[in-house]
Amino acid sequence: MTEKDLKVFIDIICHYFEKTTSHAPELKEPVIELNQFRLLDYTGFIKISGNNQGWVYISMPKGMLLDVLNCMGESLSDRSILLDSVGEIVSIITSNAREHFGAQFQISVPVTSAGKENTPISHEMPRFLLPFTWREHQAYVGIALLA
């Protein structure tokens, strides 16, 4: 994937929130994260392969996930349901990305995690971290590529 493709991925994520909740996320200044992961309560990871191999992920606090679900008419807050929900969000983002990119890009089935420690990505991989605010919540879109 080129940087333009990765930007499309970010646009797809932003578009998802805007379309589903009628609230557009606001992108902040990105940082390159080198050591400790900055993960929030719930994270969905999508593995990408092809020209570039790595991960795209979205990490959000529990309150944001509850608000997103609320916008979709759901009011459940059980941990397993929240985990399923973040999985569903990244699944929809993944299928939108597949639609855009076509068959030449390989995108895996999403992986989800709850908590700030669990990640399928090696800590040694530098990450491109794009913070964004959605309503009053702060969340992250992350990109981790192998060199």
Binding site: E3, I10, E29, P30, V31, I32, E33, L34, Q36, L145
Partner: protein, 208 residues
């Protein structure tokens, strides 16, 4: 010339020279960890530094007369490193009072180490070369790749070209694109980025 296997120690004029120095955090950590016995590689490893960084840094400190490569008498060597000298008479490996002689003041003046010609400078000279500030380099990358988020992702891909051990040796949590003060740790990282720009964007970096 220093090797990674040398035991290094601070030079006698270290305190005087150090008072005028400004070094990076890991450079001070390295200097203060020198004990004349532990090898440069082992100290570097304990600080998370790769061999190239250690060697470059140690050579620079040697040139600035901040450190010396420690030489040992045979008796010091056998005692310090717990090595048996089976060819020598038993008494040869032990000093008269049973303690170690200070560095370079042992009974014998013979040393098999190469000695460096001392430099004439009495205080460390400033390093020369291109600016190690990251922001102008990242601005160049972002400018040449369309700007905005696309440009920032391109900058990330360029940073990925820095060898991983060098990135880890930077001992930082994150790099902010708008941080005016952030500096790369050394020329090696700078050259890795310049090469990265060429490989990712196919342009040659021109400092402003």
């Amino acid at each position: 010339m220093i090797t990674l296997h040398d035991g290094l120690e601070r030079a006698s004029q270290f305190d005087e020279l150090a008072a005028t120095l400004q070094l990076r955090r890991y450079e001070w950590a390295f200097l203060l960890a020198l004990d004349g016995r532990t090898s440069a590689r082992e100290i570097g490893k304990s600080l998370g530094l790769d061999d190239t960084t250690v060697l470059t840094m140690a050579d620079f400190f040697l040139e600035q007369q901040l450190i010396v490569a420690r030489s040992y008498t045979l008796s010091e060597y056998t005692r310090l490193f717990n090595v048996k000298n089976e060819m020598a008479p038993a008494s040869a490996a032990v000093t008269s009072n049973g303690s170690l002689a200070p560095a370079r003041t042992g009974a014998s003046s013979i040393s098999f180490s190469l000695k460096r010609k001392p430099t004439t400078a009495s205080t460390p000279a400033p390093t020369t070369g291109p600016s190690l500030k990251l922001k102008p380099i990242m601005d160049f990358v972002i400018r040449h790749s369309g700007g905005g988020t696309t440009g920032q992702i391109a900058a990330y891909r360029v940073l990925l070209k820095i060898p991983r051990p060098l990135l880890q040796a930077m001992k930082i949590e994150s790099i902010n694109f708008i941080d005016d003060n952030f500096e790369l740790p050394n020329q090696e990282a700078y050259h890795a980025i310049v090469e990265g720009i060429k490989s990712v964007l196919n342009v040659t970096y021109q400092p402003a």
